[in-house]
């Protein structure tokens, strides 16, 4: 089996002065896969995402998207290859309406009219169609998260990176994104970072565990959750 992974990191290193945030990470995600990434605070998960999306240029190592090297490309160039990301900190156009937020993403690949259609459809899917005319800066946290997800999806990405999509959401909202993530995954590969283990159990198959910038374990979700090493560095602390 030699299918090309949708995204692959080879010996990726990201150093900030003396801090090695990502330490020799090699990881590959198959097209259509849904990969979960877990690990304690400061393990380097967000930094890893930033290296994949060009927000940071890795100190060394290589990133390949669909088999082609993308290391060193600028963020917007990587985005145009159809890599979508929801960052850990909210990133929205706060002064614009929800509809316009989503439309701007759709507009990259479509003319005005088609972009409008796509934006409406995506917002419907995330249950935020009713918020279309509201200015995003005035929405509640969970609603903003949903609008940001809609924004990411409206770019019609081939790969979606989600950094803590369920953080600070109500149970109902979490349920909705669980459903939507499963649905998106029928056509698109995803990598999801989350601390919410219940959420992870709901969606995960293969889980990669980060610890101190490196990959600690990579295995099926059940095996990972019962792994003593993982319990020791991460889950144990959460339970305590």
């Amino acid at each position: 089996m030699t299918t090309t992974p949708i995204i692959e990191a080879r010996n990726l290193v990201m150093r900030f002065g003396g801090v090695v945030a990502v330490n020799d990470v090699s990881l590959s995600v198959a097209d259509g896969e849904l990969r979960c990434l877990i690990g304690p605070n400061g393990a380097g998960k967000s930094t890893f995402f930033k290296c994949l999306t060009g927000q940071l240029t890795p100190t060394s190592g290589e990133v390949l998207f669909d088999g082609k090297p993308i290391t060193g490309l600028k963020s917007h160039e990587i985005a145009r290859l159809r890599v979508g990301i929801k960052t850990q900190v909210p990133n929205l156009f706060n002064g614009l309406t929800a509809r316009e937020n989503v439309w701007l993403a759709a507009r990259r690949n479509h003319v005005d009219r088609a972009a409008g259609k796509l934006a409406e459809a995506v917002m419907e899917r995330f249950g935020v169609a009713a918020l279309a005319k509201r200015v995003v800066g005035e929405l509640a946290h969970g609603q903003r998260q949903l609008v940001e997800l809609a924004c990411v999806l409206a770019g019609e990405p081939r790969l979606i990176l989600l950094d803590e999509p369920a953080a600070g959401m109500t149970d109902e909202e979490v349920e909705r994104i669980t459903t939507v993530i499963r649905e998106i995954n029928r056509t698109t590969a995803l990598v999801v970072v989350e601390h919410d283990m219940q959420f992870i159990r709901q969606i995960a198959r293969t889980v990669t565990v980060f610890h101190q910038g490196a990959v600690l374990v990579e295995d099926h979700v059940d095996a990972v959750l019962s792994n003593p090493m993982v319990r020791d560095v991460y889950l144990g602390k959460k339970a305590a």
Binding site: I85, N91, A121, C151
Partner: protein, 359 residues
Amino acid sequence: MERLMENDALRGRLLVALTALIGVGVMFWAAATLEFFQIFQLTEFLILAILAISLAFIWGHGGILCFGQAAFFGLGGYAYALLALNDFDTGGALFLGVAIAGGFAALLGYFMFYGRLSDVYMGVVTLSVTLIFQKLMNSTAGSAYTVGKARLGGFNGIPSVPTLSSPAEPAMPLMPEQLYFVAFGALILVYLLLGLMTHSSFGRAAAAVRENETRAELIGYDVRRIKLVTFAIGGAVAGLAGALMASQRAFIDPNAFGLVLSAQALIWVIVGGLGTLVGPILGCIALQYLSLWLSEGQFRVMGAALDNNLVLGVILMTMVLAVPKGLAPTIRDGVLWLWRRARPSSDAPSAPAAAGERA
């Protein structure tokens, strides 16, 4: 429903066209009503309003705070003056003034945006650039400093700058009334072009960049290119104002690059309303009339004329504190509020002209 977005854009464009049409009406009405010297005065204010709208576009729409908008104004003015004094066709000199100012803004923007300067440093750089130009021009008083037939004249400035003439009759300078129509026409045209642009897909992308550069980049917008284009357009428009002013006054001096003018432009935008294009035009003209009125010593407290700058300063502070959004947005919200009160049964609360849909 799926065409809502398009309709917003369409509504925005219609509003811009309508506003421009009102502008045309005001232009003819003022020409018919005002005295000769008032027309003359207004012409100068209209030209400054072009400078105001250039900053309104860069800062209010594009989110790029520029402390040295006068740099482009001065460049346009000097380019016009020097070219026209060297027997260039005045129309051509005007065009080149615009191009040079726009080109310089593009160059400066390239270094700022592609060098990833932070906002604070950008403020410092734009401020320094305008100061450098002013200093440089101030030091060209000697007779050695000439461009072709024209002496730069240092702080004394360049006198006898040829007035614009019609391309049909290059030898005949335009009359003051004609210059009034040129200035007003230019202002309306610039407003129309910039206004339509804010509702184009480029304009929406520029608004996205203003709101959140990271998100704009992460959905595939080339943020630096968009900022560069916005900045260059604003520079060119400021250059147009400078060139028109050199023609209007038949004179230009290093104050065209001055910090005072740059600061005034910022104030017009703040008072008129950051984020609108009409607001800063109104803010500029209103404040110009206000300072004119104050300088005539009409405003007296207990018999003594007050210092202009003091009064102006107090008015500005009051404005910023009492009307933080600026004139235009406040008036618009007021009208919308009255409208809704007049029609209490009107349907669901549509967000009052969301920030994305500014005229």
